[in-house]
């Protein structure tokens, strides 16, 4: 069980901080994003493969007024979802650049071995955006 890997050492403080405050996880609750014209959902991944992610977007005008997610996955996965939700909330859809997993990994110090997981996040987010 105790293998030679150093996941915990590699965990950037940023990842730890995000992981410990997954404020955007869950559903929109009553009155949240009430003024939204519509909602959009997207999801990707499977528990058996280690990662599953859902995004819910609340859109009003050309603006993302709310971003929520649910996720099953490793700390990097959860933290990246939270970070994306925080950074996208309030942004205009027409000028939206979500970047890509490589860029996220760089910004958040996610190790290369975890890139596959970020791809699942990207799939879920793009699926939601496509429907928005």
């Amino acid at each position: 069980m105790s293998r030679a890997a150093d996941t915990a050492d590699q965990l950037a403080p940023r990842i730890r901080a995000l992981f410990s405050a997954l404020d955007h996880a869950g559903e929109f609750v009553a009155h949240e994003a009430d003024g939204a014209a519509h909602r959009a959902h997207g999801e990707a991944g499977r528990e058996e493969l280690g990662t599953r992610v859902q995004f819910s977007l609340a859109i009003a005008g050309q603006r993302l007024v709310g971003v929520r997610y649910r996720a099953y996955g490793c700390p990097h996965t959860l933290a990246t979802c939270e970070w994306l939700a925080r950074s996208l909330e309030g942004r205009r859809l027409d000028s939206l650049a979500i970047g890509d997993p490589l860029e996220w990994a760089q910004r958040l110090d996610v190790p290369a071995a975890k890139l596959g997981r970020l791809l699942v996040i990207e799939d879920a987010l793009r699926a939601a955006l496509t429907r928005s």
């Binding site: 069980m1 150093d6 996941t7 649910r70 099953y72 490793c74 959860l78 596959g116």
Partner: protein
Amino acid sequence: MSSPQTEPVYLDYAATAPVDPRVATAMSGCLTRTGVFGNPASQHHFGRLARARVEQARAQVACLIGAAPAQIIWTSGATESNNLAIFGTARAAAKAGHIVTARTEHKAVLDPCRRLEQEGWRVTYLTPDRDGIIEPLQVHEAIGADTVLVSIMHANNEIGVIQDIEAIARVCHERDLPLHVDAAQSAGKLEIDLRRCAVDLLSLTAHKLYGPKGIGALYVSPQRRARLRPLIYGGGHERGLRSGTLAVHQIVGFGLACELCVRERGEDAQRIEALRMRLWEGLRSIEGALLNGHPTRRVAGILNVSFPGVEGESLLLGLPELALSTGSACNSDSDEPSYVLRALGRDIELAQSSLRFSLGRFSCERDVEVALGAVRREVQRLRAVAP
């Protein structure tokens, strides 16, 4: 998720146990000029003092398992002992043959077996039942005309399940085959009496029984001695089976740790078992919590539980007040969940949602309460986040 104000509660005794203070004291008496610092191979005063301590420790280790001192070979730990047992037996064979082992063995057994496969050997990896048990009949059926060795562990390091080594030894004995037993997790915790059990090779390590890391032993039965090829040559120490200067302080610590186990095993086991039961009683009230491994055939200290819907690495990170291991072992080297749980037929999700709690001599009620509170909190939080 809360931050630890103090040190986390240690629940990883199966990974390594702290050295017993009595052992540490004995060790520190074998280091500097004022202690027993000689080379046991030296013929002078200091060498003789060192040799006497080494031989005393050999008797202590032998006593723990019902062996004779001359049957104990010092090694650097159970990893080396397992390698010496497996390669030592295989390389003494005239040609590549067949080995019987199990999917749930430690890597220190599986990796040497894999290496031998690359050298032309055939290896049967037995699959245990859903509880982690290997039936002696499975061993019997796997043995072929070219089988050279059977290697089955005593207690499993991830799930704590105990194999019926006596019965497996009888199967091997009938076929006149040597049995190697990795007893790293059971020695000092379960009774092992080699006078009553036809084991030929048995691996021990000190650091799981409150001795130091980096010292272990291989028990070698008199019949096997001449048929074991050394791994490490150079001077002919340990009757030629393991050369290298003997690490007196390490050996002395290992010996005393064994003696303390002989004296205190009963009490320790009872107390630790009660703590584990309390822990499991608390954890099973968490919805879906699932015990991995046989409910009763297990060592006192190890409890492995899956929490469906919760990913193990995240669960661990969310428990900073606890120090334990996960079966998901999601790490940079490998994304695979525990191969041991997979061998029990657990699906990947369950395998990656497991935690191994392991308790030991210094565990207390409070540790269990802290663990229960933390796990309840974090399972709830992560389930709330999950799809």
